[in-house]
Symmetry: C2
Subunit: 215 residues, 2 copies
């Protein structure tokens, strides 16, 4: 599949590399047409990897991942152009972490709204699926680094779009995928970030992830 990745940070690079490894073609997009990190990532990832602007990545992808920082996601998606995204599945991996008031970060949107919902409202013809935002990017692409059973949460309004994203998630090696329902569940998965950040402080470099223990 042709996949667009918006964002050149750790998350975009990890997902892009994984998608290349399992056979997809990936274009990494950023604000500029030749972002240094995107160029570097594409050079390391062979002929199926390319780079360009947000609009280039959005136009290229049959499916697009939003891996930009949550506080700039809406601007990045606007720059990508709604016509380039129309009708496509957008996997929103971003978290609205606001570091501007110091540590720990707060959420720039939460409680009665979420970044996932804001993106869905801004792009009503795009099928937004929130996924993967509750874990470190190393865990996203290699779930076995966390011992035992653990879960990835998905939510979104379009059932077929979710099914397509679930298929990709399974192809990464995931066994347990919990569908939380429509995109308003993004409030829940984004608001899990404050405890995630505490746990990250506690476990440092030891990988961890959420598991819903259940019968």
């Amino acid at each position: 599949m042709k996949i667009g990745i918006m964002g050149t940070g750790m998350v975009g690079a990890a997902l892009g590399t994984k998608l290349i490894q399992i056979g997809h073609e990936v274009k990494m997009g950023s604000r500029s047409a030749s972002n240094e990190k995107a160029v570097d990532w594409a050079r390391k990832n062979g002929s199926r990897a390319s780079y360009g602007t947000f609009a280039d990545a959005a136009a290229f992808g049959e499916l697009v991942f939003n891996c930009t920082a949550g506080t700039v996601s809406l601007a990045a998606l606007s720059s990508a152009g709604s016509s380039n995204l129309k009708g496509k599945v957008l996997v929103d991996v971003a978290n609205p972490l606001d570091f501007s008031k110091g540590m720990p970060p707060t959420l720039s949107v939460c409680n009665s709204d979420s970044l996932g919902e804001q993106i869905q409202r801004a792009l009503p013809k795009v099928k937004v699926v929130k996924a993967f935002n509750t874990m470190n990017c190393k865990v996203m692409v290699e779930p076995s680094i966390v011992p035992g059973e653990h879960d990835v949460f998905v939510c979104g309004n379009d059932v077929q779009a979710k099914a397509k994203v679930v298929e990709i998630i399974r192809s990464f090696g995931w066994k347990s995928i919990i569908d939380l329902g429509d995109i308003t569940a993004a409030r829940g998965t984004e608001m899990i970030l404050p405890i995630w950040l505490r746990l990250f402080g506690l476990y440092q470099n030891r990988p961890f992830n959420f598991r819903i223990a259940r019968s």
Copy 2:
């Protein structure tokens, strides 16, 4: 130990009953001196169970559980009287769920503050330990109803107070207790409620709990 329970709802009743069963004396407090549910609970739980006002329960307990609804906890604790609570450990089990704007509930405080912190600020001479607020009360008192390993989170500023609470939690049968640090971590455990509510909708009456999968 003599323990005060503030609140006569499901959570207060479940914790009170468990504490009686394992040998403690418990006084359940409410706004009125003879709340019908408190009278009924005490009648069912034998000679070590009693009831009274919030102030009676606070004065009685060497350790006190706040099991009131989060949106009225500060008023209930104020009514209990800071002199009745001074120097004691207060286990805050409440969540600031606001149902006044319809379903799903929002949090009346979150993101840059939490109910746990509000209570600690209102009662600076009380040792507030946030615990148990991330699960159903049936799971609190009988962790084995959820299969596999799963966790209870604690946080608070006073290390000795946390150790005392951890001891009680262990006496309920808990194996894995995660200390998230000071009381500001209550933001994290309270903000986990939106996803908990989604999961509750998904699993209905099947008990579940959070587990942090880790090495």
